[in-house]
Subunit: 297 residues, 4 copies
């Protein structure tokens, strides 16, 4: 299952089938269908994307409304009809996607291929296996399908900045999370020993759940320490959690600040040398023309 | 409905009526009234502003106190009298504003014009339409009227810095919010499926409400997971929410830090070239005099 | 009531009585007492400070333990004796302070003079006016007396850094707090209208209390929205509060970061010119020697 | 009890026994055992480390599962057998460690020596002293043993960065914590006086516990103010706590940001002069070769 992003290559004639990860058909109705479904540089392609987003959102609204008992009682029948219409449309779309690519298996095993399947399967399964009815709400994962279209939007640069900040901090975050895990495991066990099942700390997992509730400052209050010693330990944990909260914030703040303040330099794509300023036009080291500064840089 | 800020132009004689968005009358009693109500460079104008702030705050105190059952029982009659006095005064003020400007319709449709109307309407409506009595507390929106006077204060620069930091980060914030929305929708549905109505997760909107409660670390505790799987998912969500909390903080911190540290430069208003230092007096590129450095810069 | 910090001038002979805000006696037993009580450069003075900190902390422990019903039942008599011993010792100390300074009235009206009085008064008042017994716990304010000694410690520089960061941000903080106040007032009123007394929102102040609970992500859960509309508004508020939380953090982070990264420069005390580097020894503008770089800079 | 980190010196022949804090045996089976247990540069040594991590994690899983009543009822017998197996293996390992070092007492008193003992003691104690059965969960501290192996991992640099950020801020953190302690003590006492035992504020420690719950925005909701004055004070505290939360975050953010942005310089190990850039190869002041730039720098 690989994340294969369809490139937005222009539909030029010729042997560029291998440019698209799922394989673009060379000609005929499959070629036309491909351009409508997988590309968005034609009027029909754009319309297809917009109708699809509309259908996904409408189907989500139906799923959400259907979960409300009073609305289900009043419009349950209508919702069933709508749900089957959406499922049939998404099934048709899934088949069309399979048919119009050169490598259907590769599409079916891609992340979006799996999500496309998951978007229609629950409705069929709920009919065949009555016990799986609860799973029908997995349909909410249809939301993920919207990412396919979002991916192509202008916001990708911002997503990229967020992702890069997280990626650059991945080791700090791993260290931080492992530290938090060790603390909540030890603290949860300690509270299980101190407070015991009588005060709601039924076992170590419950104690760890409570420790996470407390360290993250969520504090539901469904389980609370009742003994003096338990409250003292809880106080220490809250102060500790409060201080620890500063660490992820500090990590991400420092990343964002560094990205904003760091003097931005460019790489030379010819010789690989770094450190060229944003206003340089040619590489200082090899004289090759530097790539143009893009808007999102 | 446009945000038209009355400029504080000096009341010089002549055809500067068009300088004020609502139109300043040329002479006569309307001109005098205009200077008192819309301008604050005369003794009467300043007094008018101060009395108005006093009336607004007093009327808010009455609204708040009147909502307390015991105080309402004791002073309900007095509060009704006071409320009607405030409403009549604000009505008179609204009429005076309408009368003394050249373009009353433009004023009536401006943001502050609408707020001025909303400040008096509820009291009248509560009499005419008894069912709308609950709406009477919309009067608390009178608070917004204070902004009219705050607008002219020295704190505008700080408001500006906050606003600019938010504006500069608007794309990052949008991406962040859309990410949070997707997570709470999926997590809320998941918890609805796992915990079900028996544990308080009555429908998907309730699940989403709970997910927001948890992700933001508010944790009311009115709905809490009871099953082991539910608690495990909740633990993941809390840690996720904790980490996610770092993102908006990091975005705003980076903005503020960049604003503080970035070497401040000025634009040349003549040729538009940028990068002049705070101590430069003439444009390096065209020789024109640079605008003076203002205190708030 | 002015904050008069006793300077730590060396006890040189001569007419430096006016150097100490409360007036240092010239000679005799009052001079000796003054050096022990108000100064800490002698062995006796240091011992006095240490004994005083010990007494204050011991008296606090008694106050705290005495509030616990079971301990009060067992040791109530001992605590009463201890409390009176502490009160008598602090009374003696207060009288000694009054006696040994040249300007006792000035000391009595200073911040620390008032705290010294407040430290002993509750015990006497609890005897004279039985109804004021609850006030006896005001004794916990004795804790503030420790600041007198802390003030002289090496941590003053860090206190200064915190204070400066807050002071530099005071306008941003004021704008932020006024914004929060307006939001919680409007939101609290809105929830009072939507949920009403039936769901625990008894009046507008209760609504505002709930709004603050929610915006700050404390979320006690003693009052929670029950209606769908109320929960929707609460969700918006939580996300808003979450984002707003980023603002004070961002303000303080930016201050701290700027203090750390800003190239540190010094003022010339002779001509007032700024911008001298930390390694400069003489003023570039007037040639005067620059003040030495202090450790805390 | 000193933190003695075993160095990873190569097992070269000769008198380097004194290089290892616990003393490496010169030859024979003890030498072989030492290399397996304390070093990880041989196949057997690496295998030993991996098996040990596996055993520690498996024993933790048993401790956690055994605390769940239903699982304990079903597999209690199996868990007892497993627990004794783990305890015996860890005991053997502890004895082996004692036997194969030159200075067993030094190892026994080191931090890891004590943890190794604490990892096996509870199981034996639970047999000998039935009343200490609760203490058996101290076994969860076995988790700390994993640090011994983590210590040698590549993540040490990140741990170091976190630690350095905290260490550099230690004075600011101390000042901050002392400020928080004073505020929660005074506020807790105040709420005890205002709300009293009738509303759950049984004594001053309970009040302080509540104040910490509120200031840290955890807000369990097991104890909440019921009076108007109490709610007003609580509102002030929440806003104060909200603002105060910004301080530790700001401190850590500034540290992280400074570490990222500060132009990195190196010390000359020969003459001690500072400020050499990352690309300098020789000291500007004494001409000595600078130490190579390490990966983690």
């Amino acid at each position: 299952m690989s994340i294969a992003t369809p490139t937005r290559a222009a539909p030029s004639e010729g042997s560029d089938a291998e440019l698209h990860p799922y394989g673009r058909p060379a000609a005929g109705w499959r070629r036309k269908l491909f351009r409508v479904i997988f590309e968005s540089d034609t009027v029909a392609g754009k319309l297809f994307d917009e109708v699809l987003i509309g259908l996904i959102l409408a189907s989500l609204v139906v799923v959400v409304l259907d979960s409300i008992a009073s609305i289900h009682a009043a419009y349950g029948g209508l919702f069933t009809v709508l749900e089957w219409s959406f499922t049939l449309l998404f099934t048709l779309e899934y088949i069309a996607r399979l048919v119009c690519v050169q490598r259907p298996l590769r599409y079916a095993r891609s992340v979006f291929g799996v999500i496309d399947l998951v978007a229609v399967l629950p409705t069929y399964l709920a009919i065949l296996v009555p016990g799986l009815h609860a799973l029908i709400d997995v349909r909410v994962l249809r939301l993920l399908r919207i990412f396919r279209i979002f991916k192509l939007s202008a916001y990708i640069a911002e997503y990229g900045a967020l992702g890069r900040a997280l990626y650059e901090s991945r080791r700090k975050i791993f260290v931080f999370l492992s530290f938090v895990m060790i603390v909540v495991l030890i603290m949860g066990t300690l509270m299980y020993v101190v407070e015991g099942p009588a005060h709601g700390f039924h076992n170590i997992p419950t104690g760890v759940y409570w420790a996470i509730t407390t360290m993250t400052t969520v504090g539901f209050g469904d389980i609370t320490p009742k003994t003096d010693l338990g409250r003292f330990i809880a106080s220490i944990m809250m102060l500790l959690g409060w201080g620890t909260l500063a660490v992820p914030t500090g990590i991400v703040s420092a990343e964002f600040t560094a990205q904003k303040l760091r003097p931005r330099t460019r790489h030379c794509t010819a010789c690989g040398s770094d450190g060229h300023s944003m206003s340089d036009r040619f590489c200082r080291d090899c004289g090759a023309a530097l790539p143009p500064v893009t808007a999102t840089e």
